[in-house]
């Protein structure tokens, strides 16, 4: 990712219309002006492609499932409890963990933008950023969840969290049955991104789950 001048040299006066070319041209310009270091850009891309993601959140959830004292700290101060496991960073100043129970189901959205808890889930998937998800989830969460495969009983209270300010939310899903004998690491492997957004439940393990 170093030489990018040749690709757009054929262009004459107009900014190339295709995003890939326009972005390359802007990057070349900013490098040329000494404003960015392409090696730093490589580090940033690699960080968000490979070093943060839902695996962090899954570790937080698994710890909360096996350690009641940790869970208590997590629900009281998400940012501090998540930092105990070494996770922090951009979009992580006010991490609030909301717990799903048989009576309450939480789901997160950002209607104004696409705010998302980067330190524990990485960058949001495209569908989370879609106009349809952003517009509908606040008004018709049950319809959205049904469309995504989660049909909730009427007596469950649905709580929608709109991430409009500094707060970023992580859903603590219910621990599935049949997991009593699983280790913390095995439990973490069960936890999905979607369950931590609140658009799915954590599926029970098919085999080897003990009871």
């Amino acid at each position: 990712m170093s030489q990018r001048h040749a690709d757009h040299a054929h262009d004459h006066t107009n900014v190339p219309a295709e995003p890939a070319l326009r972005v390359k041209a802007l990057e070349s310009l900013l490098v040329d002006k000494g404003l960015v270091d392409p090696a730093a850009l490589d580090v940033l891309v690699d960080t968000y492609e490979n070093k943060v993601g839902p695996r962090h959140g899954a570790q937080v959830v698994a710890r909360a499932w096996v350690d009641p004292a940790y869970k208590q700290r997590l629900l009281a101060d998400g940012t501090a409890a998540i930092a105990e496991l070494g996770f922090s960073g951009g979009q992580g100043e006010k991490l609030t963990v909301v717990e799903n129970t048989p009576a309450v189901h939480n789901v997160i959205v950002c209607t104004l933008c696409s705010c998302y808890p980067w330190p524990v889930l990485g960058l949001p998937p495209t569908w989370y950023k879609s106009s349809a998800y952003r517009s509908r989830t606040v008004m018709d969460p049950r319809g959205v969840l049904r469309e995504l495969g989660l049909d909730l009983p009427d007596d469950v209270e649905v709580r929608v969290w709109d991430s409009n300010a500094a707060s970023r939310y992580l859903v603590l899903p219910e621990r599935p049955s049949g997991t009593a004998s699983l280790s913390e690491a095995d439990l973490a492997r069960l936890v999905t991104r979607d369950a931590m957004i609140g658009v799915a439940k954590v599926p029970a393990p098919r085999e080897g789950g003990g009871a």
Partner: protein
């Protein structure tokens, strides 16, 4: 502003397009846009995204919006010129800067948590458990108060701390630190009697967005 970005409660905006898994960046240029913005802290780009005309906003992908906002900001601040953008090269007469974000700094950024909460003692205007109403205001610039909360009544659930009012952050006067409150709005208060009776929406509201109910 009452822009297209303020989507909560709108209908007819297409399909969710759910995918179980996908690459973090759909195309390499998206990662480069993301990295450029992280590597050049030029201030919040959200007001610039919100100024994109609605039809274009809806046509653009997420990272096209960020690219457009970033470029607009760079041009407005005079960091780059139109002529330079067209050529893809710096004006030879312009000086050469030194990048602020080196690879080592970029690695540290991963763990660096922003600190926007203000350590300022202010007497809160509202208390936990109080009924409050979203004010009927229509700011013409950036705001974090979605339209669907205006005129609606909820209850203060929790204190969030003191933060600058984002509406004033972008060249519109002095910083205005104030309390932020987590508000619980019953679904029926927002969407009428067809909404399920015990569902609810939670959202953070700056003090200026609220009035006693």
């Amino acid at each position: 502003m009452n822009g297209i970005h303020d989507m909560g409660g709108m209908q007819g905006l297409g399909t969710i397009g759910y995918q179980a898994s996908e690459p973090m960046f759909q195309e390499p240029w998206e990662g480069r846009v993301f990295a450029l913005i992280r590597a050049m802290p030029v201030g919040s780009l959200r007001p610039y995204i919100e100024r994109i005309p609605a039809a274009e906003y809806l046509r653009m992908s997420y990272y096209e919006r960020w690219y457009t906002a970033f470029l607009t900001r760079l041009l407005e601040q005079g960091i780059v010129t139109h002529a330079e953008v067209e050529r893809g090269h710096a004006d030879p007469a312009a000086g050469k800067a030194t990048p602020a974000i080196t690879p080592a700094v970029a690695r540290e950024l991963l763990f660096k948590t922003p600190h926007e909460e203000q350590d300022i003692a202010l007497t809160p205007r509202f208390y936990v458990g109080e009924r409050v109403r979203g004010r009927n205001i229509h700011p013409t610039t950036h705001t974090r108060m979605p339209r669907y909360t205006r005129g609606r009544t909820g209850v203060v659930e929790r204190m969030r701390g003191v933060f600058h009012l984002p509406d004033r952050e972008h060249g519109a006067g002095e910083p205005t630190p104030q309390h932020v409150y987590l508000i619980r709005f019953p679904a029926r208060a927002l969407w009428g009697d067809d909404a399920p009776a015990h569902d609810a929406l939670y959202i953070d509201m700056w003090e200026d967005y609220l009035e006693p109910a």
